[in-house]
């Protein structure tokens, strides 16, 4: 993706805009975000990230958990103790998720447009 974006920067304006639309977060360099699963709670329970951010869940519990998007957008494998699962959010929106084993465990990822992205300037 980075290579594509670099190429786009040297292309015609139209092509550049098209690439920006396709990969809006490429040059954002958003800091990746971690969610701890601890004591049957997603912490933080709600995270706000820029588009393009990779969110990583880490299971600190002695019991396995499974991270599942409520709209079936993503689903981790069974996360045993210390296992992790990552998902990169490219499209702005609000993403609800829960643990399919312990559905009272819920969380939200809010993805905002990657403003300040070089591609969009």
């Amino acid at each position: 993706m980075t290579k594509l974006a670099t190429v786009a920067r040297f292309s015609f304006a139209v092509a550049l805009l098209a690439m920006a639309a396709m990969f809006p977060a490429v040059s954002t360099r958003a800091a990746d975000t971690q969610v701890q699963i601890d004591q049957f709670i997603f912490a933080p329970q709600r995270v706000s990230v820029k588009a393009g951010t990779t969110v990583t869940w880490v299971n600190d519990d002695d019991i396995p958990h499974v991270v599942v998007s409520s709209k079936k957008l993503f689903k981790s494998k069974t996360l045993d103790t210390n296992d992790r699962f990552s998902f990169t959010f490219t499209t702005p929106g609000t993403y609800e998720y829960f643990c399919s084993l312990h559905p009272h465990m819920t969380g939200t990822v809010v993805v905002e447009a990657a403003t300040g992205s070089k591609a969009a300037q």
């Binding site: 519990d61 559905p103 009272h104």
Partner: protein
């Protein structure tokens, strides 16, 4: 309990009197392995004479669990199975109320089978959420699903008692509790239709069918619909696991009971930040693990339910 039984079991007069006291306040004591155990049936039932049907409930064996709360869950399952050999009346069969394994691994199912088969008894299973971690519940159903419907529900009859095994750990919804689903509820309604109201019913499922503690997910979203189909029956016993501790509630003709785990204890509702495995002193662990002995005595409305810790 008759005096004959007491003598043959070598129980002291003082113990018998304790029994009587408890019976008077609604908790039944019975004799198991020569030792009286508390926590039993509430109501009019007297101590179970082992004359009717007796079966054993084991639950939450979590084979594969190796964390500090119990590094050897397979070993304590074996201890639980060995208890059968010291029982004065050998149970007719076993009910396992789920979480056979910890991570649904084939090797964990194999280990569980190897130990549980030492009981040389028929075992009627329902899955826990730890047994259905593969997408299509194939591992569980390949082993235990023969003759079952949907994701593994079924019924059978023994000694005039109708047993119903339900699955409430599949397709759980965000923010919700255990879930039976429309298909299973429709089957249950049909399964109970036409049965005499005097037929004793035993329903077993992994997650409690009564709301124990919703903040920890300890309940079943649509259990009320199932209980509605059961309310015309004079004797209904609901046996669950999942919460790794004994709890009992009586509502009309329905007795709800949860069993201990054979693997690790969990905290009382709200007594800890989460329902995760509870680490206790090593010498206390076996007093919090165990099995449940259930006896049906003809003419008694309620079944005698006797919880037996592995030790203490």
């Amino acid at each position: 309990m008759t005096s004959d039984q007491n003598e043959s079991s070598g129980v002291s007069r003082r113990k018998i009197l304790e029994c009587m006291t408890w019976a008077g306040t609604g908790v039944l004591w019975s004799l198991a392995g020569g030792t009286p155990r508390s926590v039993g049936i509430i109501g009019a039932a007297t101590a179970a004479e082992p004359s009717g049907l007796t079966f054993l409930q084991i639950s939450d064996s979590h084979v594969g669990f190796d964390k500090p709360a119990n590094p050897n869950a397979l070993g304590t399952l074996e201890e639980a199975i060995n208890k059968i050999h010291s029982m004065p009346v050998k149970p007719s069969f076993i009910i396992h109320t789920g979480d056979i394994t910890h991570l649904s691994k084939p090797s964990e199912f194999d280990d569980a089978d190897r130990i549980i088969s030492q009981a040389r008894l028929d075992v009627h299973y329902v899955p826990g959420e730890h047994d259905v971690l593969d997408e299509d519940v194939k591992l569980y159903r390949d082993r235990y699903g023969r003759g079952t419907k949907g994701t593994g529900w079924y019924s059978f009859d023994a000694n005039g008692v109708h047993f119903v095994g339900l699955v409430n750990v599949v397709d759980l919804k965000a923010g919700g509790l255990g879930n039976l689903g429309d298909d299973q509820l429709a089957w249950l309604e049909d399964d109970l239709k036409g049965r005499s109201a005097s037929t004793p019913i035993v329903v077993f499922a992994h997650i409690p069918l009564w709301t124990v503690y919703p903040a920890w997910g300890w309940g079943t979203e649509d259990a009320a619909r199932a209980l509605n189909y059961l309310k015309r029956f004079g004797s209904v016993t609901v046996l669950n696991g999942h919460i790794h501790q004994i709890m009992q509630k009586v509502e009309g003709s329905v007795t709800f009971h949860t069993a201990m785990s054979t693997a690790f204890p969990q905290p009382a509702p709200g007594a800890a930040p989460s329902p995760g495995p509870m680490k206790v002193a090593d010498d206390k662990l076996r007093s919090l693990l165990g099995v449940t002995d259930v006896s049906v005595k003809r003419g008694q409305q309620r079944l005698a339910i006797i919880d037996q810790p592995l030790q203490g």
